[in-house]
């Protein structure tokens, strides 16, 4: 396993963290960001931006340490309210790294096909298909057309 891939333990913690950041969306029948597999996106990103390896590792370790301090061997084993508390705590104590995790989690989650489809957006890049748009209704301009010239000579 290379340094920029998450270990199974780290992945388990991360999945629980991501579910805490973007929880399941019951109305849209979507699981949370962790269950949806956004950890794989974070792996891709840390491959591209090696400085993130340390950032994500720091947060995972801090959250597992939080769990151990509460007699639980890892973050993912904490009950949900305690996980939320841990995330609040880490957001306060590690604001920079946590913001970075939020940014990449949001970015990854909203690129997932299922999420895009739930938003009514085609799950693809804009190019090459582009988008159909309704024809222009230029009759709306009738009142403007009647105005006298507005510019000064």
């Amino acid at each position: 396993m290379s340094e920029d891939q998450f270990s199974p333990d780290a992945r388990e913690t991360l999945a629980a963290v991501l579910d805490g950041i973007i929880p399941a969306n019951d109305a849209a029948s979507l699981p949370g960001a962790g269950s949806l597999g956004v950890a794989s996106y974070l792996e891709t990103i840390q491959n591209r931006k090696p400085e993130l390896v340390e950032v994500f590792a720091l947060l995972i370790n801090a959250l597992d340490a939080f769990a151990r301090a509460r007699d639980c061997d890892r973050f993912a084993a904490l009950p949900l309210p305690a996980r939320a508390e841990a995330l609040q705590e880490i957001a306060r104590t590690h604001p920079g790294p946590f913001s970075s995790l939020l940014f990449h989690t949001y970015a990854g989650y909203y690129q997932e096909d299922r999420v895009l489809e739930a938003q009514g957006v085609p799950a693809r890049a804009p190019f090459p298909e582009g988008y159909e748009m309704e024809p222009n209704d230029l009759s709306l301009l009738d009142a403007v057309r009647q105005r006298p010239k507005m510019f000064r000579e």
């Binding site: 989650y109 909203y110 804009p126 507005m150």
Partner: protein, 534 residues
């Protein structure tokens, strides 16, 4: 190392450099253009990938300081509330521009006579009109004839798609009885001159993968090159050199390998934009010009004008479909364009409707703006934001003030160790009052269009994309850098064709006026070839 002398050396291959190069090919002169950037490959543009909105935070960022591209030069804009946005490539900043293409109005050339502020231009709308028309054809401008805010003009292509949001705003403007009109846009809405038509991708400001947007790498350059111009990319000019008589005789530059070279020329034309041009002139020091080239009166770099922007976003209850269609081009309003002293400020502004963001953009911008929480409440907040938020910008006319300027930073340099520009800029009282007025009016029209709430950013910090005034045009050599046809008062074979030569900024995007001026200056050069340096 020195190269074969050429008749014309153009520095900068952006909006103005491309137009002047193309136009000069009517002559039999040999023309070389040096450009520090490279050709862009549209297949690599962000809209070809699902993560397109994230590239704004990386290699397609607005600021050269954060982009990490080799061809960029840094800009110290720490002492300006508005930071510089540009792009350095074949096509220059038109690679990123929105393509909004409104002309100046006749009154914009006469602000001193009409409103008693700043200075009149030494030329007028009528003089530029044929060049506007020629440029509209070359760039492929879409719009609608009959706008009462302008003298009659033809528009080559039908308007861009207004979409659900544009129609909605149109109804809002109608309810208030205010002017609005489909934007003049350098976007091919039908196949035009070999360019494919717009397919409403959205992210025009990240380069147009379709090639429908009129960036000059797809408009002027292919034709200029076919007609004989030699465009040398990845060539960064360090300084323009002069002979013992103080005439420009070429430029020293670094090629793609970093090797120093010298290109000799009979005529030098600078087209590096309102920041790059004064930077280059100030870096071109010699015995004859110890304070920088063409700078005997100390005006090079002074009178920098941006357009202070106010951004007002409306929050709507309904979906807007606003992530589709050209991001920056939709509808414009010039209800508050001409001076009305009862408003408490002079001159005026345009409104431009801007479309909304896609899901990723909504999410990360929502995060950064602290509007999209994590954890519980995330999905509800996203629902309220995504495709329910879009708005408008006000482009306020800036007035020239000598203390707003581009100078050389004493420490900062680019990768070739050429000193970088430093920006000093303060927002004037007039601009502040105009912004306040614009924000209040924008909120009114958004409410009339059904917005339940608005969010304001004014002045918009990233909006240093219209760069003007730093080598102003005028007939008096004491108060201007170039004459009425772009020729330096101090150096008779040196011309400037970019936004630096603007006398005033008007309240519209500048590029079609920059290019019309470049074509006009080129025409004047062509007509005066026999006595050009007299």
């Amino acid at each position: 190392m020195s190269e074969e002398p050429v008749d014309v050396l153009i520095i900068g291959a952006g909006a103005s450099g491309a137009a002047v190069a193309w136009s000069l090919t009517d002559t039999r002169m040999s023309i070389v253009c040096l450009e520090q950037g490279d050709w862009m490959n549209p297949a690599d543009y962000p809209s070809t990938q699902k993560d397109w909105e994230l590239r704004r935070f990386g290699d397609f960022g607005l600021s050269p300081n954060g982009r990490g591209r080799r061809e960029d030069y840094p800009v110290n804009d720490a002492e300006s509330p508005i930071s510089i946005s540009n792009f350095n490539a074949v096509g220059g900043s038109t690679i990123l521009y929105a393509g909004h293409f409104p002309r100046f109005h006749p009154s914009d050339f006469k602000v001193k006579s009409l409103d008693g502020v700043a200075d009149d231009w030494p030329i007028d709308y009528q003089r530029l009109e044929p060049y506007y028309a020629q440029n509209d054809q070359m760039m492929g401008v879409a719009g609608l004839a009959g706008d009462p805010a302008y003298p009659p003009k033809e528009v080559p292509l039908p308007p861009v798609a207004l979409g659900e949001f544009g129609h909605r705003l149109g109804r809002g403007f109608n309810e208030l009885g205010w002017h609005w009109w489909p934007s003049d846009s350098a976007i091919a809405t039908q196949a035009h001159a070999g360019r494919a038509p717009c397919i409403n991708l959205g992210p025009c400001l990240l380069g147009c993968a379709q090639g429908a947007k009129g960036s000059t790498d797809v408009t002027y350059w292919p034709s200029a090159i076919r007609r004989g111009v030699e465009l040398r990319t990845r060539c960064r000019v360090r300084e323009i050199t002069v002979d013992e008589n103080g005439m420009a005789n070429g430029a020293t530059y670094y090629d793609a390998d970093g090797t120093e070279r010298h290109q000799k020329a009979e005529i030098v034309i600078v087209a590096c934009n309102g920041v790059g041009t004064p930077r280059l002139l100030l870096n071109s020091k010699s015995k004859q010009f110890p304070d920088g080239l063409a700078n005997r009166n100390g005006l090079v770099g002074k009178n920098l004008m941006f357009h202070p922007y106010a951004m007002v976003n409306g929050i709507f209850e309904e979906r807007l479909d606003a992530y589709k269609g050209p991001m920056g081009c939709c509808v414009m309003s010039q209800e508050f364009y001409e001076t009305d002293p009862t408003r408490g400020f002079l001159r005026g502004y345009s409104f431009e409707i801007v479309r909304g963001m896609g899901p990723v953009g909504t999410a990360v911008m929502g995060l950064m703006g602290e509007k999209l929480p994590w954890g519980e409440g995330h999905h509800r907040a996203f629902e309220e934001l995504f495709d329910r938020s879009a708005g408008m910008v006000a482009i306020c006319e800036d007035l020239p003030e000598a203390h707003n300027c581009v100078s050389l930073d004493p420490e900062l340099c680019d990768s070739d160790q050429v000193p970088a520009p430093k920006i000093n800029y303060r927002l004037s009282d007039n601009s502040r009052k105009m912004i306040d007025h614009a924000v209040a009016r924008a909120q009114e029209v958004l409410a009339a269009s059904g917005a339940v709430d608005t969010q304001v950013e004014a002045p918009l910090g990233v909006a240093g994309w219209h760069l003007m005034g730093t080598a102003r045009m005028g007939s008096d050599p004491k108060t201007s850098v170039v004459n009425e046809w772009g020729r330096s008062h101090d150096v008779r074979n040196l011309f400037i064709v970019d936004g630096s030569i603007f006398v005033t900024a008007a309240g519209v995007n500048p590029t079609c006026t920059i290019q019309a001026l470049a074509l006009y200056i080129s025409d004047t050069i062509k007509k005066n070839l026999s006595n050009l340096f007299d």
